[in-house]
Assembly symmetry: C2
Homo-oligomer: 252 residues x 2
Amino acid sequence: MGKTKNIQSVERAMQILELFEQGNQEKSVKEIAEHLDLSKSTVFGLINTLNNLGYLRQNEENAKYSLGTRVLALGHAVSSANLLAQKAHPHLQKLSFDYQETCLLAVEENGFVVYIDKTESPGSISINTRIGTKKELFCTGVGKCFLAFLPPQTANNIIGLGLRKVTPNTIATEHELAEELQTIHDKGYAVDREEYELGIRCVAAPIFNKQGEIIASLSLTGPAGRIQAIPLDRLAASLMETASAITRDMDI
Amino acid sequence: MGKTKNIQSVERAMQILELFEQGNQEKSVKEIAEHLDLSKSTVFGLINTLNNLGYLRQNEENAKYSLGTRVLALGHAVSSANLLAQKAHPHLQKLSFDYQETCLLAVEENGFVVYIDKTESPGSISINTRIGTKKELFCTGVGKCFLAFLPPQTANNIIGLGLRKVTPNTIATEHELAEELQTIHDKGYAVDREEYELGIRCVAAPIFNKQGEIIASLSLTGPAGRIQAIPLDRLAASLMETASAITRDMDI
DNA sequence: GAATGGCGTTCAACATTATCGGATGAAGTG
DNA sequence: CACTTCATCCGATAATGTTGAACGCCATTC
């Protein structure tokens, strides 16, 4: 695999773009230079290039920079090529609307879950899970779905990467986790009891392809109190129903 | 403005990412090297960097590359910071659903319209307008909305950039365009009569802020025959109603 | 099963290229 | 009007990216 050294200027350019990931607030050349601990002129060269290419845009008023519309095209290219994200979106939207909470869609990648879509409703509080975020499997609802439905060998390899307490509630021993996964496998859905973040609870269900292999997982996520107020069996049924509707829609 | 030379490796890295914009099909190192007319090793260095950073991902089976999930995060950062895209999305979704056609949202940027969101419905044919695409104003429905509702001075500056026949139907003289813009201003919506692409027709309406300034434009777009089959006054009313609902939702 | 060809990857030498400190000038502040 | 702050520009320097050649893996062929 890639052991060759990364190309410095490319890595730095991407670091600059990533600085805008949380919030996309305007930033000055100076601020960025300080964040990356680089000289102003170096940063200016990079920023200027990104600006010329449309990946950053400069506010004429204060000369500060923020993400440009060009990055939209890239983001959209991934999701539109991704049949899953495309077909699943309306279903997530409906769930968000029905329960007035945030709905997340995730896939597994190299032992991590990656969130690839998210829908919110006006009532839902903003869950700080951003699209593209990676999380470990054992401590999230969607992640545990993967562990429960992936081929046992694959799942064990991932579990072998290590468990740890993320919150006091995290299931951090292999024994307890095995029991939990058995339960999830039996019931067909997973519950995250504030195992990743205190106060945040979610219920998740696996999405399969026609061959019965898990390809994604979706969850309804929100403040613990509000999620617990929803009858669990009803919510779980909705999620599993939605999951199979997505499978049907995708036709793979 | 940016007159300094672009940083070569950054520009090339972005060119590589852009190769995947249409379709995001897997590409080999060799293919990319040929496309960009660079040596295999140069391309490998760039690709490897992007791969390590998560912007590309390699298919283990055939060693080919495609866009990685990391770019999702960037794309989402723009839209989520963008109150407009966030608030407008459910409304576009509803329009798409009601009329079973593609719905587009666009803003103006440096004399071009940039599409920042798109919703489709199962029935809608896939319009080849990708998110992040730029188009000239005079030849599109959403663009003409901007020309009609932007301050006259701004609009004239943009018109001054030049008109040209994109299709036989394109309005390519200043005189005719002025008449058309007057009509649009009076009626409150614009019709694109296959002026950008033969066979594709759209109806567009402006989105204003509370101060009455145009900040975006939305359209329902589809095959000419199907769009013409919808009663124009009803469709236009839907679009204008949606536009003002978005204004209300944004509260700016 | 040896031979061939194709392709991703690595390497080391070289020269291009990115980097940096310092200079410039515009905008804002007391 | 001096003074600060910051974006932008410039030129010297050396670090960095580029390149062709070579390696090794895999698949196909004979």
